[in-house]
């Protein structure tokens, strides 16, 4: 395993007004890892990212980014590329000029600008200013800006929010490629767990300011893969499933059942429910959303 790039140890953060955003959060990321940070909106992902980067102070706990406290020592952010949730960059100048200035700040060579434009797929749009770009291109510009840091570590906070499905896949693929080809360590946050699955091996689940899961994605999802059954008489279907030992939940006309690897038992239960008068409209096996992962605890 590589060296630890980020260490967050027992961190607490309370916003003015008493809103506690982080409660004793601990997390560490090693060089070369791709870590997905998942959690519903308001769970504390963005606060955790900002505290980890030294953009926000903390009430208590230890944060080390590249071996130093990022709130006190700006050297912590050398070679760290950051993509923020709402892609925003200074808007008064063409993107290429902005990247040239950023290159001066990071001490990057001049050809780093062209390389970042090429790698982020921004070629042909680099002379436009940031507000003139489409949502997808804005995200690419933000990624190009992160690449100027010549990063060992990229932190991307909801990099696919506000993008259409095709652009989402492209952005995730681009980040994944950076890890494969350049060995860049990635921390990517999202509230859509299947998106994280495309790139991350390890997932950290945050809920109400706490880390509630931290492990390999298959381990975390393994126990939470569920059958989604649309049926008439959902209460009857749920009752039959419960009798056979399945954990269930009804949302409208849909019954969710935790599968726990018991596919055959599920099929038998559905046949029994049909015999008792329910009509199974459809069923599928699905990886859960983050809310579903948390609600099946």
């Amino acid at each position: 395993m590589g060296r630890e790039i980020l260490v967050v140890d027992d961190v607490y953060k309370t916003y003015p007004g008493g809103v506690r955003a982080l409660h004793g959060v601990s997390l560490s990321i090693r060089k070369g890892e791709v870590v997905g940070l998942v959690g519903s909106n308001g769970s504390g992902k963005t606060t955790l990212i900002k505290v980890s980067l030294g953009l926000l102070s903390r009430d208590k706990g230890r944060v080390e980014l590249n071996g130093v406290d990022p709130f006190k020592d700006p050297r912590a952010r050398e070679n760290v590329g950051i993509v923020f949730e709402r892609p925003t960059l200074p808007s008064g100048i063409p993107v290429k000029r902005l990247l040239e200035i950023a290159a001066k700040i990071y001490g990057a060579p001049r050809d780093a600008v062209d390389e970042a434009i090429e790698l982020a797929g921004l070629r042909g749009h680099e002379h436009k200013s940031f507000p003139q770009l489409s949502a997808g291109l804005k995200q690419r510009a933000a990624i190009a800006h992160a690449l100027i840091a010549q990063p060992d570590f990229i932190v991307a906070d909801e990099p696919t929010s506000n993008l259409d499905p095709l652009e989402r896949v492209r952005v995730i693929e681009l980040l994944s490629r950076l890890n494969r080809e350049k060995g860049v360590t990635l921390l990517i946050s999202s509230h859509i767990i299947y998106e994280i699955m495309r790139v991350a091996v390890r997932v950290v689940v945050v809920s109400k300011g706490r880390v509630v899961r931290d492990g390999r994605i298959d381990e975390i999802l393994g126990s939470n893969v569920k059958a989604r059954i649309r049926a008439t008489k959902p209460s009857l279907v749920a009752e039959v499933l419960r009798r056979r030992g399945f954990k269930t939940k009804i949302l409208g006309a849909t019954v969710y059942a935790s599968l726990d690897g018991r596919k055959e038992a599920l099929m038998e239960a559905l046949l029994e429910a049909e015999k008792l008068g329910a009509y199974i409209v459809s069923f599928d096996v699905a990886e859960p959303s983050i809310e579903e992962v948390l609600s099946l605890d």
Binding site: L55, L56, R77, V80, F84, L89, I101, I105, G107
Partner: protein, 252 residues
């Protein structure tokens, strides 16, 4: 040495990045042209001979426009940076918070003040160049006094911008501060004069540096050293407060 030059290079880069927002056209371009034209017009229509009077006649009107620009574009622009997330981008650079705060003061307060006060002064100086050359020290001193006064206002506005919720609120509170401050100076001067309380007059005089300097050159009042030190000191304190607050407490 390498660290120092690297810090200076980064600081200059952030200043140039932020200036691209502060000085963006057409607002700044229109303003500087207007003020330059104003400086030229006033220099032509008023047959002035003494250096300090030339600068006073040109910049006494200009400073109102400069102050409003600093409130609505300079400082309110800081609130905009916070609101639209660009401040996060600045803070994500490997630059100290003190450095970013200093860069903001330079690009949001100092550079616009130098340029906006400088343009009409330069135009008037070109038109009345013989008189200006004869009293260059007075001209430079008066220009510097206006610059320090504007920097004081700008530093206060910058402090306000960090706590304001929206750029509009920041602009309105800043402009309100400017008027309250100046009205207070006028009231103190009037009460001091009508009641014969010399201390009040002295305080009023020291609240506006260029007026204090004008009075000194014209011999209208006997000034003490602290009369000239008050505004530079206040500007230094507010700028330091801005940097200290930004470094230790500010969270975007």
């Amino acid at each position: 040495m390498t660290n120092k030059s690297s810090s200076a290079r980064r600081l200059l880069a952030i200043i140039s990045l932020d200036l691209s927002d502060t000085l963006r056209p057409p607002g700044f371009d229109a303003m500087i042209l207007l003020l330059a034209a104003l400086g030229g017009s006033l220099a032509v229509i008023q047959p002035l001979t003494e250096g300090y009077v030339i600068v006073f006649s040109v910049l006494e009107v200009t400073i109102i426009a400069v102050t409003i620009f600093l409130a609505l574009r300079g400082a309110a622009g800081i609130t905009s940076l916070i609101e639209n997330g660009v401040m996060n981008v600045y803070l994500s650079y490997p630059v100290s918070r003190e450095g970013i705060a200093l860069a903001l003061l330079v690009s949001r307060v100092l550079v616009p003040s130098i340029l906006l006060l400088g343009a009409p002064t330069l135009v008037a100086s070109v038109i009345l160049w013989r008189n200006v050359v004869e009293s260059l020290a007075e001209v430079l001193a008066m220009y510097t006094a206006y610059l320090v006064q504007a920097s004081f206002y700008g530093s206060v506005f910058a402090l306000i911008s960090l706590k304001a919720k929206t750029p509009g609120t920041s602009g309105v509170i800043s402009v309100a501060f400017y008027f309250v401050y100046n009205v207070a100076a006028i009231l103190l001067a009037q009460v001091g004069a009508s009641r014969g309380v010399e201390e009040l007059t002295q305080i009023a005089n020291s609240m506006v540096l260029h007026i204090a300097l004008y009075n000194m050159y014209s011999g209208a009042y006997n000034l003490e050293e602290w009369n000239l030190a008050f505004v530079p000191l206040a500007a230094g304190i507010t700028a330091s407060l801005f940097i200290a607050y930004f470094t230790a407490r500010f969270e975007p």
